[in-house]
Point group: C2
Chain length 285, copies 2
């Protein structure tokens, strides 16, 4: 009898293998951007942030991103990349660092893909005094939500979207109108979220989770690419094992830009991550 595949764990999973960074010189890491985390033919921004986040975790004396911002400069490609980090300040409870991810273009010239500024701490040292007034999103139970595998007749995401094979998304039907040609008009997207190989969430995979759902623009009737200009994530708590709930909201679509605010809730009903990104959108027809 064939052995069942071992359950992927934090440290031994697709996500971990595809976010490996190898120190090459002090503060300089090499990595291989995987082709497995693309969406609409673009390397996913949250995946890129997680790769850089792992390098910063190596470079800084504190292990966990508390607040991390990325500006996306040029489109990354699967393949080799270098991450150059700088320690900006080290403190007792927080340290700040900066990082650039660069690749070489077809002519061999170096091009910066994204630049990141982040402050790291140790989530395990935070007091457990929790006065969160926010409430988890109203999302139906897992088995009443739908992922791509549940609706094969629904058109797949345009372009190369290997990211969908890395994730287990179960979207709230109330935010799936776009997949049936009837977008709600509301800037909302909600989903249960897990990694397809079963790996539990950790602070670095939360950087992926906040950018892994279909764009809210789809529900606003705007199909197509909605490239991220900047993404800032606050990691507030180590996530408990089990599925996450991700809720994304857009309230200010104007002038060719929109914001996406994401919240990530864990199985213990903790608000473990909050993010906001500024993205470009094509208005008009």
């Amino acid at each position: 009898m064939a052995e069942a595949p071992a359950q992927a764990t934090i440290g031994d999973s697709e996500f971990d293998r595809d976010t490996v960074v190898t120190p090459r010189l002090p503060g300089v890491y090499e990595t291989e951007l995987s082709a497995g985390w693309t969406i609409i033919s673009a390397v996913n921004g949250g995946y890129l942030l997680a790769v850089v986040g792992r390098a910063l975790a190596h470079a800084l004396p504190h292990p966990d991103p508390f607040t991390i911002s990325a500006h996306y400069l040029t489109a990354s490609r699967p393949g080799p990349a270098e991450i150059r980090t700088e320690v900006v300040r080290t403190g007792r409870t927080l340290s700040t660092g900066q990082a650039s991810l660069v690749q070489r273009d077809d002519e061999g010239r170096e091009v910066e893909r994204l630049r990141v500024l982040a402050s790291y701490g140790d989530l395990d040292t935070l007091p457990d005094d929790v006065r969160t007034s926010a409430a988890p999103p109203a999302i139906p139970p897992y088995d009443q939500c739908f992922g791509p595998q549940d609706a094969p007749e629904v058109p797949a995401m345009p372009g190369d979207s290997s990211l969908t094979e890395r994730l287990t998304l179960k979207l709230d039907p109330a935010t799936l109108g776009w997949a049936l040609g009837a977008p709600s008009g509301k800037g909302e997207m909600r989903s249960w979220f897990g990694l397809a190989d079963g790996r539990d969430a950790d602070p670095l995979s939360l950087l992926l989770a906040v950018d892994a759902l279909p764009p809210t623009a789809f529900e606003m009737g705007l199909m197509g690419w909605v490239p991220t200009v900047e993404l800032t994530v606050h990691i507030r708590c180590r996530p408990a094992p089990g599925p996450l709930r991700v809720s994304v909201t857009t309230r200010n679509l104007a002038g060719g830009f929109l914001e996406e605010d994401a919240e990530v809730w864990d199985s213990a009903d903790r608000l473990v991550a909050q993010s906001r990104q500024l993205a470009r959108v094509k208005l008009g027809a």
Copy 2:
């Protein structure tokens, strides 16, 4: 008869004089941090962001911050400072830059106060297709709101708080419980906002506006300093002349940190700026 003082204008006002940056070398600017923008004895973070924002506006080929993040490293002091900028990427509609503000400590050693990463564009070139679904805050009319000058018996902010003289704040009474010893317990702060000398708002003064209200922590019963770790601001529209409305919300006070989400609405009911900051707070007592 004495002449009435001339109305301060964009370019000729306290805010403009106190955010002047003088180019010294390519990409390097000197400035003088004013003692007039302190709150609870700290130089206000939004004022610092505006000073650096002005330097970046000089250094980059686009005039307006679209998305700007600052990590606050050490406490700034009134007095001389240097801003070192780097152009990260220039594009047709967006450019990205980075900046460090440094000062010298009592021993003459250089200390970095804040580091900023920002993408700039030109607000005046954005299409006016506005599909904002957010609504302005429910704040009473201006003459039913209160500022420090209206309630002299209310204890002043602790420490040196010259910032309050630079601004005209008229706070929503529903978020003034703290000033009367009866905080509401809700993480909310709302106010009409203007500069005391009458200068209208512009994109750079919006960087101040998002960090200029009393902390939401006051309404949650936590008096004292709530230092900003990181602040990210999206400037989405050039503000119309006239008073602004600022609404700040905290929903995730936990583990010794909280987030403050600010929205700034102008007199034309446009959502002109959105920000989120991560701040430290002392819990327990």
